[in-house]
Amino acid sequence: AQSVTQPDIHITVSEGASLELRCNYSYGATPYLFWYVQSPGQGLQLLLKYFSGDTLVQGIKGFEAEFKRSQSSFNLRKPSVHWSDAAEYFCAVGAYDDYKLSFGAGTTVTVRA
């Protein structure tokens, strides 16, 4: 079964600074990888996904993520954060033969002015 670790529980970043959120997965074959964002009191919204092909994936809201098979990682980045990026971010992993996704525990991002 697949699993996900998000090592950082909470990150604080200044507005305009860059952001990187870490995600490590465990799965024997090529995984399906996702990043979701959850604003306070809301459901989860998909930021981006990786199934195959180019390992650098572009998403919505200016986010990108890079799949590194050798490191079993799928880190999320944004060059310049906005106050509206304050939210909780979840990494998820799926498999080609499974309907289910496994989610990490989440990383809360606080943006300071």
Partner: protein, 112 residues
Amino acid sequence: DVKVTQSSRYLVKRTGEKVFLECVQDMDHENMFWYRQDPGLGLRLIYFSYDVKMKEKGDIPEGYSVSREKKERFSLILESASTNQTSMYLCASSPGGPGEQYFGPGTRLTVT
């Protein structure tokens, strides 16, 4: 746009009550899921369904049951609510096969 709706945003119930959480999706998706979300634990899968009247247990099914009589609707049932079921409940749907899931806004359930 895919839309997943949940019957209530906030719900307060008493210990021992039977609780129904309803979820409806409008995109003819095959798969539907119920998760609970607790701080520090992320999302944990309670039950999922890959077809009408079909269901499978997730990671934490104890104390819950589900019903899927129509393709668009997936209900989560707490037969006898307990305080440790106080949580945020999220419903999601996805097309057939593996892939991204689409989430509803969540129901914050408090059991007193």
